[in-house]
């Protein structure tokens, strides 16, 4: 591991966290010991965090301001399987898949830093595949809500109209993020297998991973606020 020395240094400087903050910001050239792309991804995710937070706060606001009752999530998000009415079953599977994909992504990063290109590429593609299946199930869920329950952005036979509006808008925006992530993962995996990062190092896998973990984390909040509240 070439990073050992550096890790020791950072361990030493962690003894006083304010000292390390001071060292970081007092330095010339680079304030953070990371590649440019990685820092840029962090800042982008910070900005994106604000976007999702504002979406969710707006959703909470309209949910409180409506006068018509909000539909009961365990009824809206239920599937009838073999005659049994099971609430939240689909979303439980979707959430499980997305969190699993975070695990495969983390493994991809690990293998990439070990220099195991092949395994990293396979794991990234697995992650993309899991993401794609998440999108597929989301499409199924939307179809069920639209076709069977008759929920539209502008109307909702089960309660407040804003339920459909906020649900389709926010899960749709998140779905776009997942779709973009799938394309991004596939693209980067292809470029790695072509050997385009052989000289630069494999930090790109971690950068891709940052984005992917962020999208998963956002899902946890959407899950909590839409399905459990």
């Amino acid at each position: 591991m070439p990073n050992n020395q550096q890790q020791e240094q950072s361990q030493a400087s962690k003894s006083s966290s304010w000292q390390s903050v001071k060292n970081d910001w007092g330095t010339d050239k680079q304030a953070f010991d990371m590649p440019w792309g990685k820092l840029m991804m962090w800042i982008f995710l910070l900005s994106d965090t604000f976007i999702f937070s504002i979406f969710l706060i707006s959703y909470m606001n309209v949910r409180m301001s409506v006068t018509v009752p909000w539909p009961n999530p365990s009824e809206v998000f239920a599937l009838t399987i073999a005659g049994h009415h099971i609430p939240l079953v689909l979303i439980a599977i979707m959430t499980f898949i997305l969190i699993t994909s975070s695990g495969t992504m983390a493994m991809a990063v690990n293998y990439a830093y070990q220099g195991n290109k092949k395994k990293a590429v396979y794991l990234m593609l697995t992650t993309a595949l899991l993401g794609a299946s998440f999108i597929g199930m989301q499409a199924f869920e939307w179809t069920k809500l639209i076709v069977e329950e008759g929920i539209r952005p502008w109307e909702n036979p089960m309660g407040a109209n804003q339920f459909g509006a906020a649900f389709f808008m926010i899960t749709g925006f998140h779905g776009l993020h997942v779709s973009a992530g799938v394309i991004y993962l596939a693209m980067i995996a292809k470029r790695i297998s072509q050997g385009k990062y052989d000289n630069k190092g494999y930090q790109i896998v971690e950068i891709t991973g940052l984005y992917w973990h962020f999208v998963d984390l956002v899902w946890v909040f959407i899950f909590a606020f839409f399905y459990l509240w």
């Binding site: 007092g26 590649p35 440019w36 301001s65 509006a165 808008m169």
Partner: protein, 592 residues
């Protein structure tokens, strides 16, 4: 772990990457300096449209019913487009896209932005947003007339001008602008944090860079609110959702909306809108600090405090937004909270004003054109800031809300003041772009015309506001509580506004003439210390620094250092290279 892997234009120059065709050099350019000029020209062009719009508005206000081409609808459309263009497409784009792009790599000693391609995309996306915005003048119904705040429900209901296509184009254009800003902004922040020259610590950066840095962070965190509210309003308009739309009875008919919250939009809009004020103001604060230090030949007073004031103002700007909404209906305790935070902002802001004055105090003041504009800025900003203190209090704001007093306040503080700094900056950095000065006499004429002219416009407006003259009204009609003399004053304001508008044409003419025929400036004409003037080539070429990236040995404000031969020491001069007065006889000055 880092340096070897980060090879790119900002660190190392690769000779093969220099563009040589006209297209790659000036159109699809990835050079931050060319992108900056593209940004600036686009912003100034669209700003001129907004200037003409304001002139038309003033014609109507000064001489009602004299001009048949202005009807109530088109008046509202001009008001709206003037405001939105000036705030977003001119000021934000010119300060960050223009000056940010030009100055960041040069002032911190980088060869370019960290991701030049993304930077290029940022400009072309910005141009697209401008084109979408301008196209709304040509659709049926014209541009939106909802006011630049775009408050729903009226913004998207019939009866408001441009409620069909105009408002949609406006919202789409804003969304595209935010994408453009994000691409540029990520670049600015990453470049400042990660690509500084050796020795350029954060606390050695010129204040210009600090202002741009904090403003960009504000933008990255504030624009999401505008993006989200634009998306939701587009849904309300196109799909028929009711995020912002309550149950409405319009002309006896119940509309299809119900249950939404118009106040939510106001909160989201001002959560963006107030930081936006500082997105415009902070780069201006930074640039004016540098202009004042250079032209007073004195180090900026209280550099560290100036930095922390910028950071504090940036942080506070996120917790004051509801002072724009005192009349919207709010819990009184909220009003108390937001009034308090608003007044607290006065502390770091006043600190900055005092520090500018103390920098001037006993300085060797050169009344060059940039310096005139910088001093003019201190006047206009102080006046605009003091009325801000008045309006920050709930009890004073309530009667003055939606009057000309508010118009006068925000034009002084975030219209005229940043524009004064922009002029100062353009006169100051023009030689760096072209190797030529802007014409001095025309510049002085431009300054006095603008400075006195804006006072002639906005001082009477405060008085009109106290009389109760409301803003955004097409015509006053018969009003008991407003004396007839108010109309005379309005006519006077209009004449001043037209004159100020014409004076800007002199400036544009000066820009064009001086670009080709201006007096040659030579290297570093203002004898500034900061890195942008110390490039190998002058004006700087692609890659900025020739063979070697400069090494920084000092802060950017070593002016009039005692015992030193010259009255300034550039940042890249090492302690050994400094020439002192005493040991002066044996050294030649040829290297200077």
């Amino acid at each position: 772990m880092t340096e070897m892997e980060n090879i790119a234009i900002a660190d190392q120059v690769d000779d093969s990457s220099h563009p040589n065709s006209f297209l790659t050099k000036y159109v699809w350019s990835q050079d931050h300096k060319v992108i900056a000029i593209q940004y600036s020209i686009t912003a100034i062009a669209v700003g001129l449209i907004a200037l003409v719009l304001s002139g038309i508005m003033r014609l109507q206000l000064g001489f009602p019913n004299e001009f048949s081409f202005i009807d109530p609808s088109s008046y509202l459309q001009f008001v709206t487009m003037h405001g939105m263009i000036m705030v977003i497409y001119l000021l934000t784009a010119l300060l960050l896209g223009g000056f940010g792009n030009y100055l960041i790599p040069l002032m911190i000693g980088a060869r370019d932005m960290v991701f030049p391609y993304l930077n290029m995309l940022s400009y072309w996306t910005y141009l697209l947003s401008v084109l979408v915005l301008v196209s709304s003048f040509f659709v049926s119904g014209g541009p939106t007339g909802a006011g630049w705040t775009l408050y729903p429900p009226q913004a998207i209901l019939s009866g408001t001008p441009g409620a069909d296509a105009g408002i949609l184009l406006m919202l789409i254009s804003l969304a595209i602008f935010i994408v453009a800003f994000t691409m540029g902004g990520l670049n600015y922040v990453s470049t400042i944090l990660q690509a500084r020259a050796k020795g350029m610590t954060l606390m050695r950066m010129p204040l210009t860079i600090w202002g741009i840095f904090v403003a960009t962070i504000l933008g990255l965190l504030a624009f999401p609110a505008l993006l989200v509210s634009a998306i939701m309003m587009i849904f309300d308009k196109v799909v028929g959702t009711s995020f912002f739309m309550p149950a409405i009875l319009s002309l006896g008919e119940t509309l299809d909306h119900s249950g939404g919250s118009p106040i939510l939009f106001q909160h989201l809009f001002w959560f963006f809108g107030h930081p936006e004020v500082y997105i415009v103001a902070l780069p201006a604060f930074g640039m004016v600090s540098d202009v004042i230090a250079v032209h007073a030949r004195k180090n900026i007073f209280g550099y560290r405090m100036m930095v922390w004031a910028i950071v504090a103002i940036g942080g506070l700007s996120f917790v004051v937004w509801a002072h724009h909404m005192y009349v919207s209906g709010m819990n009184p305790y909220f009003g108390f909270f937001f009034a308090t935070t608003t007044l607290i902002i006065a502390i770091p802001t006043a600190l900055k004003v005092y520090n500018w004055l103390l920098t001037l105090w006993r300085g060797n003041i050169h009344l060059t054109v940039p310096m005139l504009f910088a001093i003019g800025f201190i006047f206009t900003f102080t006046h605009g800031g003091l009325t801000g203190l008045m309006l920050g209090n709930v009890v004073i704001d309530l009667p003055l809300s939606d009057t000309f007093f508010v118009v006068a306040h925000f034009h002084m503080v975030m219209g005229v003041s940043p524009v004064m700094v922009l002029f100062a900056a353009i006169y100051h950095w023009f030689p760096l772009l072209t190797g030529r000065f802007l014409n001095n006499s025309l510049g002085k004429f431009h300054f006095w015309g603008t400075f006195l002219g804006t006072y002639a416009i906005y001082l009477p407006m405060h008085y009109l506001g106290f009389l109760g003259v409301p803003r955004r009204y097409f015509a006053m009609g018969e009003t008991d509580f407003i004396p007839e003399s108010a109309q005379t004053l309005n006519a006077g304001i209009t004449v001043s506004a037209i004159i100020v508008g014409l004076v800007q044409l002199v400036f544009i003419a000066n820009l064009i003439w001086s670009t080709f025929k201006g007096k040659k400036s030579g290297r570093n004409p203002w004898q500034a210390t900061s890195l942008e003037w110390q490039t190998a080539q002058f004006p700087p070429g692609h890659g900025n620094w020739g063979e070697h990236v400069p090494q920084v040995h000092r802060w950017a404000y070593d002016y009039s250092v005692p015992e030193v031969k010259d009255d300034f020491i550039p940042q890249n001069i090492s302690p050994e290279e400094v020439e002192y007065l005493i040991s002066d006889e044996n050294n030649s000055r040829e290297d200077k």
